[in-house]
Amino acid sequence: MLSIKNLHMNFGSLEVLKGIDLNIEKGKVVVVIGPSGSGKTTLLRCLNVLETPSKGQLSINNQDIDFSKKITRKDISAIRGQTGMVFQTYNLFPHLTALENVMEGPVTVQKQDKKKARPKAVELLTKVGLGDKLDYYPFQLSGGQQQRVGIARALAMNPEVILFDEPTSSLDPELVGEVLQVMKQLAQEGMTMIVVTHEMNFARDVADEVLFMDGGHILERGHPEDVFSHPENERTKQFLNLLSE
């Protein structure tokens, strides 16, 4: 469903991704872990072209893009149409209410009628437990609530895969659970998800596969139980040891 071939990414002379190959099947949950600067967030941002890779191929749900060639806005839009993104800092639109945030994509991008988009948006917000906060502005919501609106906003575009970029890293500890709960529910419903996170328990419980990245490479991948309990790569062992200290 999603395939990445030999993906490279540079920031100036600094090579951040050094040839990533990855295939993800529909409905799988993949958790990406790794130290800061390992390229995991960059990889995620390349998947909806918020960063433009320097070369390599990406295919999501039969939409192909080859970064070695000149890419057009149409290519980017086709890829973005397949992906949803949930940001570390939520990035809700502060001038719109929760409901308007969720309706914005369907109405502005997909040109849906407001009357048609509204019930769907209400349904999504209810699903993430915010059915009673429809008309709240982001500043009136807690971090956990804002992040759940962020998830609803991504879901509203019916993406094939949702990319989570450290979705709980900005949250107070007591608010992390409510966001992970929503993500867990999505996973159970069969949503394809790629999650960059430091929540090892979430990875253990929910992930079908864990990737360990360092220095722009995927160094180890496998079932969470195997990666966490019997890491093979020396760097993975070091990283996991540091986390458990």
Binding site: L50, M85, F87, F93, P94, G105, Y137, F139, M157
Partner: protein, 235 residues
């Protein structure tokens, strides 16, 4: 026109005469404000704002030619006196056969002036919106134009209201310069009446008072707009 003869022939002296002149000149001055000062301000500011948004977007486009055009425009307008600009547009162009009536000439001058100054305000306001807002919009597949219109400019508007209000209030007062290119706005009216009554202190103070009232009303509007736009911000 102003009934100049009545005033001069008025027999009253001292304080009575003052009151008399103040009363009979008030309506002509107000007419100057309603017919010229206010329309000139509103029209020039509207056109100026459109120019400003376009100029700001040119500068932010990253396209060298467009950025260059914007820089040259801003540099010329900010680097030369408004009075000189008005003279070039009205007398200068008029002398080489491009005759523009006083009012449209003033509109052109004030619009260009507002456009240059306000473009820097709008550019700064756009740059003040966090990068994450662009990314969030792109992530739901919005185009550049949609992002600008639906996400960035609404937020930039809120940021730019206080400095734009400054420009707007300055413009109200700057329209008095249009008197020099024969626009019959309020200040020119007061000059005409002074020529007939020889009461500069009274008439110019009266004009100043009306300018102040106009600006005061505008600042009330500014408060209202700010309150409205602040509804989505923690206070």
């Amino acid at each position: 026109m102003f009934p100049a003869n009545d005033l001069i022939l008025s027999a009253a002296t001292g304080f009575e005469r003052y009151v008399d002149i103040a009363q009979s000149s008030f309506w002509p001055l107000l007419k100057g404000a309603l017919l010229y000062t206010i329309p000139l301000t509103l029209i020039a500011f509207s056109i100026g704002l459109m120019l400003a948004v376009i100029t700001a977007l040119f500068r932010l486009s990253g396209i060298k030619v467009l950025g260059g055009i914007a820089r040259v425009y801003i540099s010329i307008i900010r680097g030369t006196p408004l009075l000189v600009q008005l003279f070039i547009i009205f007398f200068g162009l008029g002398s080489v056969g491009i005759k523009i009536d006083p009012f449209p000439a003033a509109i052109i001058g004030f619009s260009l002036n507002t456009g240059a100054y306000a473009s820097e305000i709008i550019r700064a306001a756009i740059l003040s919106i966090p990068k994450g807002q662009w990314e969030a919009a792109y992530s739901i597949n919005m185009s550049y134009g949609q992002t600008l219109k639906r996400v960035i400019l609404p937020q930039a508007t809120r940021v730019s209201i206080p400095p734009l209000s400054n420009s707007f209030i300055s413009l109200v007062k700057d329209t008095s310069l249009a008197s020099t290119i024969l626009v019959a706005e309020m200040f020119r009216k007061s000059q005409e009446i002074v020529a007939n009554t020889y009461e500069p202190l009274l008439l110019y103070t009266e004009a100043a008072f009306i300018y102040w009232v106009l600006c005061f009303i505008l600042s009330l509007f500014q408060d209202q707009i700010e309150n409205r736009l602040n509804r989505y911000v923690k206070t």
